[in-house]
């Protein structure tokens, strides 16, 4: 694993498309949101939050990955 590869991985992640984000861009007043649309958007964002929590938990459990191509002169031995 190199820093370039890590950066490419992160940059290659497809932006998530959430209904809530689209609603925000459309700038409606909260009171004007249709109940069904609002419900679906809330369910989706809760599921997304859950997936993020699971991913964060999995990442926290990963074994350390040596970044062999990264030079850190400040801490050189």
């Amino acid at each position: 694993m190199t820093s370039e590869l890590l950066r490419d991985c992160l940059a290659g992640a497809v932006p998530v498309d959430l209904r809530g984000m689209r609603l925000l861009k459309a700038c409606p007043q909260p009171a004007d949101l249709p109940r069904e649309t609002l419900t679906q958007a809330v369910i989706e964002i809760i599921e997304y939050t859950g997936r993020c929590q699971v991913a964060a938990h999995l990442l926290s459990q990963l074994a350390p990955i040596p970044l062999i191509a990264v030079a850190i002169p400040e801490y050189g031995l």
Binding site: L18, G20, M21, L23, P30, L38, A41, V42, I45
Partner: protein, 299 residues
Amino acid sequence: MTDDLLGAFNLLADGLRADPLLSLASAVCWLDPLWRDDGEDADVPYDTDGILAAALGITRRTFPEVYMQAVNAIRQGASYAEIDRLICEAVTARGIPLDGIEFMAYGIPLPAYGAALSDPDFYERHPDTLPVLACFGITPDPEAYAIDVPDLAYTAAQRIAADLEQQTDAGWQQIGWLLRWLFSCSGNSSVDYDDETMSGFQPLAWEPDDIAFAVEIIAEAETIMRDALAGLALLNGQPELTKALQQNVERITRSLDKRSTKGNLNEPHFRLEWPPARRGDHGTAVPDPQLLQLRDPAA
């Protein structure tokens, strides 16, 4: 991106609050996160998270106020150990002693005070019971794998306990409860069964009727054990009482022996004699700290 995401959260939260129905639904989910309880708690694996989920599900159905306290504590960032302690203390305060929430999923945990006289370990844990058991001919061999307790000892103990129950002397009544504990004939499951025996029974369920029953059993067991231990202290503190007990055991044993030898099926009749059991040293008044606290020194 982060600002957009937070903005979306805020927009949706505002939208929920603006709609009365969704606002009410949000309040339900917030106050009662397990509102969709559909009886699947039994399938929760016994890992840490599953144990807590099961405990929350049980408290939600049985002690809603405890459930609310636990949910509130979780929201405030309490650790697993803190939630565990909170639930255990609250359930214990309601009459069911609980050492850990991991025991909840099996059913209502009943304490098991039972005296396993055939187990040599019992005598190591309760060496102070040796003198009273010796009255019944039970002298455990520490090297033995299991102690053989003759049936006659159980029969004699039951007869003596029944006789002591009729005595007006509270000290002898307590000694009667001691015998009922030692020989597992109190009629209370918590007093009569040890852990191993208790584990062979289906535990009571976390249902209102069973909870009330368990609380009753446990409260009675604690009273019996208090009396039994007081009786033990009384016997060990007054050798003449142990001597009187031994003499009465011998009377009963002789009577039961004759009955079995002659094939007589009638109930044996015997007259037992009990000297006064002084509670305290030499019959003097013994201060009771609990009662003394009720008295106002200034009064």
